[in-house]
Every structure is written in C-alpha cells, then in structure tokens.
Amino acid sequence: MDPQRDTPLKRFGAFWIGLFIVVSFGVAALFLSPSFKADMEDPALQSQYEARLAIKADVDAAQAEQFEFKKNGNKAQVAPEQAFAYTAKQLLTAQPKKTGTVVPGSPTDLKNNSGN
C-alpha cells in the first residue's frame, strides 16, 4: 500500500469534488432553463389562449354554481350529496298518490268502458 496517497485531507477533498461535480449538473440545468422555456409570448396565439381560458373559466363557474346552495322561492338548490339522503327519506315515507291513470282491465276501467 502507498500510504502517501491516502490522507484524510485527500478523502475530504475527494468528497467535496464529487459533490461539486454532481451539484454542477443542477447548476448547469439552471443556466440552461431559460432556453428551455416554451415560446408562450407569441402574440398571434395570445388571443386564442385568452379566448380558450375565458371559455374554460365560464364553464368552471357555471359548473361550480350548480353545486352551490341557492334558494328559489320555497325551493332550495343544494349539492347532490346533500339532496340524496333527504330525497331518499322522503320517498320512503311518501304515500302513493291518487292519479287519474286507469289500469286497463281494472274494475274502474271496466266500469268506465261499460258506461260508454
């Protein structure tokens, strides 16, 4: 073994040299990043970007509105997950209503028809 090559100083130096080489890649990437930026400042396309973004904002707002709580006279608009439980309970406790529908073949129907 050649002890003169292996000193703590050399080891210390080698550690920092290695670390520096690794970090230099990140630094180089930082310096290269401006050239990597997308050419987003094209004025010809700017109006298109804005139109698209405006439409997207409109759609997002309209969709968000659907989920808001709103009162409309004696009705209220709530988010779906709040309405499901309430509606389900209502349906469970509701009684069948009398409609004007006549089931064909029922006594009512026969009575009506026989009267015609």
Binding site: D2, D6, R11, A14, F25, S33, F36
Partner: protein, 488 residues
C-alpha cells in the same frame, strides 16, 4: 516478500475489504432480490391483464395500467439500481484496494432508497403516478432517490481518488463513468420534466431521452464493469484486447447520450432529433460488439469453466445478450422497421433485453461471485443456481424474442390498412399470452434465486473451501476431475 506471503497478505486485504463492505452489499443484493420478485409478480399480473382484463379486476389498485407501470418502475428502482449499487461498492473497493469506512451511512442511505421505492409503489397503486415513462413514481420519490444515491455513491469516488497508485482497471473506468453520468441524467431528466415549466413536447423528448440514457450510460456501463472484472478474474487470463476495451468504452460514453428520441418519430419535434437518436441506436452496435467480442475472446479457451462457474456462466450469457441487444438496436432503428414497431411491443422487448437480459444477468454473475466472499459461506445448492440460470435464460429469450418479433408482426398488421384492425389485435393477443408464460418462468427462476440469497444472507451457506459449481453430475469428486483444488 515471497510470493506466498504476498498472496496471503493480498488474501487478507481482500478479506478485510470484503468484511468492511459486507453489510451494505448484502443489504442491496438481498433487498434487490426481494424487489425483483415483487416486480416480476407485477409483470406477470400486467401481462395477464393485457390479454385477460378481468383477471383480479376487483382490485382496482392493480389495474392494467398501474400493474405495468409498477412492474417496470419497481424493476428499475427496486432491483436494478440497488444491485448496481452493491456491485459498484464492492468492485470499487476491491479494485482500489481500500476498505469502506462508511458502511453505516451506505446502509442508511440504502434504507432511504428502499423507503422511496415503497412510497413510489404505493403511489402508483393509488393512482398518483406521474405518467412519464420510467419516471412514474410520485414527485417526492426522485428527490429521495437523488439524496440517497449521493450518500451511497460518493464514497466509491473517494476510494478511487485515494486508490493505490498505478493501474486503472477497465472496470474502474466504467464505474467512474456510471457514477457521474447517473446524477447528470437523473437530475436533468427530472428537473426538466417536473421542475422547469418547459414546452410539453420538449418534456416528452426529455422523458424518452431519459429512458435510453439511463440504460446506455448507467446500466450498460455497470454491466460492463461486472463482466470486465469477472471474466478475467475467474479465468485468470488477461482481458483480450486493451485497445478494443478503450474503443468500446469511449464509443459507449459518446454515443449513449444521443438516443431515445426515436420513440417520438412523427411528433412535432425538429425532425433531426428522432433520426439522430435512431442513428445512435444503430451505432450502439459498436460498443456492444466490442465489449462482447472482448469478453468472449477472454473466455474463449475456458468453455468448461463457463459451464461450471455460475458467475462466468451468467457473464457469458450477459455478454451474448449484449451483442443481441446491439443487433436488435440496428434492426429496430431502421426507419422501415420503426414505422411498424414504434407503437408495438418491440420497445418493451428491447427494454427487457437491456434491463434483464444484459444488466440483470451480469448482476447475477456479480452476486454469485461476491456473496460467498462477503458472507464467507459458499452457495448452498447448485440445483438452485441451475434453475435460476436456465429458467431465466429461457424466460428472457422468450420475452425478448416474442416481444420484438411479435411487435414487428403486430406493427406490420397495423400498417396493412386494407386488412381489418382485428388482425393486429389477434397478433398482439398471442404475443401477450406468450409473454405471460415467459414471465411466469422467470418468476420461478427468481423465486429460487431469492430463496437462495436469503439463506446466504442469514449465513446459512455452506462452510467450505471449494466453490459451489454447477457442473452436471458426472459423479466426479468435488475437487475437480483430476483432484485439483478449484480456483473459482
């Protein structure tokens, strides 16, 4: 000093070095083998789901997309990198003839790396993958990986700087190159994809560049380091040609960074980019051929050794796979072929050839060589080693040939616009089934390997002076055909 004393001192130094790196090396190899089995299980699942979508469908966390992504990423970050680290640490320590004084830090960093892989796998399974090929682990993971890598690998560089004077071995060139190329490639790709707000098409180009560069400039160099160490060491002969080694090294380093973007042919990129990458892919044939030829000529007169010694067998297999990878690179990067295979299974076949056929086989060779030295026990069962080798070789040949050739057929069927598309689907279907069977075979082989290495890790190996060889049973004595003590 007499030759015997030198030998004894050498052997003692080697043993001291092995002892100092035993913990990190065994940690990386054992956890790597575990992750390898996990990744192959995921690969079997992904392959099954590609032709049998309802298999295991209730478990949404492992749907086709997630299983495939998890398979490839766990293979790379869970097995390939840790195995590479273990090999780098041991090779560098031995070649610089320096003990490692930082085994504790390396093991801690290795634990952090594995933690990163676990987070990554969970992230992919829960749907948080980033969607960028080979960088699919969630964003936190690559930072963890980078810091863990620095703490694992910087010590090898320090060892190189304070090495005993004189010769720089070929393996050391490759390891040194890999040590610094990895952070450059990894940093650049991840920073330009995830940190900087670049043009999305260029981000796609960076991502596809990453795939190719990490193979050509990290995995292939580490594989080359392994084969350039094991072949001369086990056979006792010098490397065949120094100039050829020099040629292979420099062509690999120079050409390796130009590839990858041919995956994006037809994308709105400057047209020269995919074509330069395709040309670099064809030119990869040169380093592949030179490394392969060099190693094969080194082991030329030792066919019997190659049959008996597990590490040499795996080395020769890896080198043949490397030549195959070079030929496949030429074939797959021709524009006339690429028009069909660009969106087919051929890309997957080529990746598996690189990751498993070349790299993993060379890592298995290194593991079969290193573990006895580091644990001071010999491998327990030659039958396990035989199973591992044979089934792995068959399996990977099946996957690679099936995927590359099948991908070519699939691409040709897609390109035939006067035939219905279902023809291409039928071709791909057959290839998927073939792949699934092949992956199951590879799974069995690696289960044997995992079991074997776990036994070694808990020091249950054989106490013996003679290496475990995988010769076929001729009823010969363990001392070799003519009673000589084996040297391998």
């Amino acid at each position: 000093m007499s030759n015997d004393q030198t030998n004894t001192l050498d052997a003692r130094l080697r043993t001291a070095i092995d002892k100092s790196v035993s913990n990190p090396v065994m940690f990386f190899f054992t956890t790597g083998a575990l992750w390898l089995v996990v990744s192959i299980l995921l690969g079997v699942l992904a392959s099954l789901k590609s032709h049998w979508p309802t298999f295991f469908e209730a478990f949404g966390e492992l749907s086709t997309g997630r299983a495939y992504v998890a398979h490839l990423n766990v293979l790379i970050y869970g097995w390939c990198f840790p195995a590479a680290f273990g090999a780098i640490i041991w090779f560098m320590s031995r070649l610089c003839r320096k003990e490692s004084k930082h085994a504790g830090i390396i093991v801690a960093a290795g634990l952090v790396w594995n933690f990163g892989v676990v987070i990554g796998l969970l992230g992919v399974m829960l749907g948080k993958s980033t969607g960028v090929p080979w960088m699919e682990f969630p964003n936190q993971c690559w930072v963890i990986f980078l810091f863990a890598y620095i703490l694992i690998a910087i010590w090898s560089f320090v060892q190189f700087r304070v090495r005993e004077g004189g010769h720089v071995y070929i393996s050391q060139w490759y390891i040194l190159a890999a040590l610094f190329l990895f952070p450059w490639i990894f940093c650049s790709a991840h920073i330009f994809t995830f940190v900087f707000d670049g043009h999305p098409v260029m981000t796609a180009a960076v991502a596809s560049w990453f795939k190719s560069s990490i193979v050509n400039l990290f995995f292939i160099p580490v594989a080359a380091a392994s084969v350039y160490y094991i072949a001369p060491k086990v056979t006792g002969r010098p490397v065949h040609s120094y100039s050829l080694a020099l040629l292979g090294f420099w062509t690999l380093i120079i050409l390796g960074a130009w590839g990858g973007i041919q995956k994006l042919t037809g994308a709105p990129l400057p047209a020269f980019m995919p074509y330069v990458s395709a040309a670099a892919g064809v030119l990869f044939f040169i380093p592949a051929l030179t490394i392969g030829y060099n190693i094969l000529m080194t082991t030329k007169s030792h066919h019997d050794l190659a049959k008996k010694s597990p590490s040499l067998r795996f080395t020769v297999a890896s080198v043949i796979a490397l030549i195959g990878m070079g030929v496949a690179g030429v074939f797959l990067n021709l524009p006339s072929v690429m028009r069909g295979t660009q969106f087919s299974l051929s890309g997957y076949g080529y990746e598996i050839l690189a990751l498993y056929g070349v790299f993993s086989m060379s890592m298995f060779a290194a593991i079969y060589y290193i573990v006895p030295r580091v644990t001071k026990r010999e491998w327990l069962a030659p039958s396990f080693i035989r199973t591992h080798f044979n089934l792995s070789a068959y399996g990977v040949i099946a996957v690679v040939m099936g995927s590359i050739l099948g991908g070519y057929l699939q691409g040709a069927a897609v390109e035939a616009i006067d035939q219905p598309f279902s023809d291409a689907k039928a071709t791909a279907y057959m290839i998927s089934i073939f792949n699934s069977i092949a992956w199951v075979i590879i799974l069995i082989s690696n289960l044997a390997f995992l079991f074997h290495i776990l036994l070694m890790a808990v020091r249950l190996g054989r106490h013996s002076k003679h290496a475990t060889l995988i010769e076929e049973h001729h009823g010969s004595s363990p001392h070799g055909a003519d009673g000589k003590v084996n040297n391998y």
